[in-house]
Amino acid sequence: MRRLKRYLPLAVMALTVTAVQLLTSYTGTAYYLTQLTITAYYGLLIIGLCVLMGYAGQLSLGHAGFFAIGGYVSAALTTHDLTAYRNNFFITLLNHAHLLISRQDIYGEPLLTVKAWPACLAAIAAALLIAFIIGIPVLKLKGHYLAMATLGFGIIIFRIVMAGSYFGEADGISDVPAFTLLPGLTVSGDFSYRVQNYYIAWALILIGMFLLINLINSRPGRALRAIHGSPEAAEAAGVNTARYKLLTFVISAAFAAVAGIFLTHFNGGIGPSEASIMKSVRYVAIIAIGGMASLWGALGMGVILNFLSLRGVFGSYDDAVFGAILVLVMLFAPQGILSLSIWRKSIFRRRRDG
């Protein structure tokens, strides 16, 4: 019974996702699927960050940095031509391991690059490693100091991709190839793959939500919530608070990196704006609106706001809208808008368990 209660929302979400796709196909509005796919990838980052912020209580203003690490590493490895290094021992080794692929660029020139799968794994590994290295010193900080340190990390990543010629400087990286997950299952922005990519993105969200809902309702999840409320008492109960905070930070970074990788292959490129501080602030704002310790709230708000933003509803005031939302939420609904009294009697009542 309890498991049914836990997973029922996931089943409802799967049905809704399917219904939306059928509806767009029936009404001839399949172009919405592109924005809904992108929205799902941002949602993946948001739910990971939600566990870190809302449950473990550790603020990060640098998560766009992990998104960018994932996207940029995968983009750079799958686009940079290695033909000139063909005789390099290391490149030969990679080639023999079948990690490289020869193809032609858009002008018909031969191109030797890393395959998408190894590039993807390398990108995840890079994000995990950097999260680990950054996390150990940074998570010793609390409150404002943690916010400042993660902000600093975000700025560093932004400046690196802006200044590094390997990362395309202000232009970013384009012509990123499609990513064939399995035969017949390809992450690509190509028109003919649109429906398939919509389902890939939302399947990732389903998997992500499954993992995180399980986490917050478990022994380590309970310990995370205890760290949030009373770190000293958590430590006295035997919780290795430093380790738990670090693991959560690394997991949320992995979610961000996976989101970055998939979205980059879907879009066929990535630019420095993905690493910008305004992106990080936006994610934090969405989680605050969703009610901090509410995975479903964060996901729901993320889907609505990112979809509106991608449809251009906020026009050139895009960032300003998110900034304003953050201010308003902090002033009038610090528990998230789902906690406002107007919802009290409705089905939207905030649920603690996820």
Binding site: L211, L215, R219, P220, A226, E232, A237, G238, A293
Partner: protein, 269 residues
């Protein structure tokens, strides 16, 4: 009711020291909070730590629990040196505590607060939890059952689903006690457990602490309520200005001239 494994009957443990404090010093800047404090806590006994405000009782507790490292000296728990070790590590060795200013976890129910107490006695990690593996589910059920049994023991099972920080003060103290006991500790540190309780609640607490000792748990408590201390303690250590000035059975402490002097003031004053 779930079986909870408490250490052993008290008689068997009484002879050997469970906790030994040796020449413990701690200073904060120029202030010497503890100077060369030494004493032992024998297994299966109740030892009380008393002294006026600022005597160093809380500092001593923080050193034992691992919240602070000592400047010098040794703390031996179960034949292991634990001074300077992390608090979570010491907790896992079998030491549980309650806090003077109650520290329950906000946002967690009473039952969940007590379930946290079993953290040091369970193992499910992030991976098993995220995949909700069968062994994680089994352990979770076991944690829940034993924690609920602990609530029943303390007569607060009806509060299980309530948010712990919203409970009445006395109930919150009971939840803290349940959380500490859920860890099946060998040594229980109680930091002013009677603070804020009325005389009836204090009497219940005295019964409870005695009952806990009968389960084989050794207790070290800091307390200002002298009638409680004299009634339940097997031995008392008196601290004043960071120094141990007396140690002995309650009757001896009551008649110790120096102790009377610091508590009542000398006749010359």
């Amino acid at each position: 009711m779930a079986k909870i494994n408490f250490p052993a009957p008290p008689g068997r443990l009484r002879k050997m020291p469970l906790l030994s404090i040796k020449d413990l010093n701690r200073s904060f800047g120029g202030i010497q909070a503890l100077s060369d404090v030494s004493f032992k806590v024998s297994g299966g006994t109740i030892k009380a730590l008393i002294g006026p405000n600022g005597a160093g009782k809380t500092t001593l507790f923080n050193l034992i629990c691992g919240n602070l490292p000592p400047s010098s000296g040794r703390i031996i728990f179960k034949d292991q040196a634990i001074e300077g070790r992390a608090a979570h590590h010491i907790a896992r060795l079998g030491l549980a505590r309650t806090f003077q200013n109650i520290k329950l976890y906000p946002g967690l129910s009473t039952l969940e607060n007590v379930m946290l107490g079993r953290h040091s006695r369970s193992h499910t990690g992030f991976m098993a939890a995220m995949l909700n593996l069968p062994r994680a589910r089994r352990e979770e059920a076991d944690i829940k059952e034993k924690s609920y049994a602990m609530l029943q023991m303390l007569n607060i099972a009806d509060l299980a689903a309530k948010e712990a920080v919203s409970l009445a003060f006395g109930q919150q103290r009971a939840v803290e006690m349940a959380r500490a006991l859920a860890a099946e500790p060998e040594l229980l540190l109680l930091d002013e457990p009677a603070a804020g309780l009325n005389i009836y609640e204090t009497a219940e607490l005295a019964d409870l602490i005695t009952q806990v000792r009968e389960m084989g748990i050794t207790i070290l408590l800091v307390e200002h309520d002298m009638s409680l201390v004299m009634k339940i303690s097997d031995e008392i250590v008196v601290l004043n200005f960071g120094r141990k000035i007396a140690e002995g059975v309650p009757a001896a402490i009551q008649n110790n001239q120096e102790v009377i002097k610091i508590y009542l003031g000398s006749e010359d004053d």
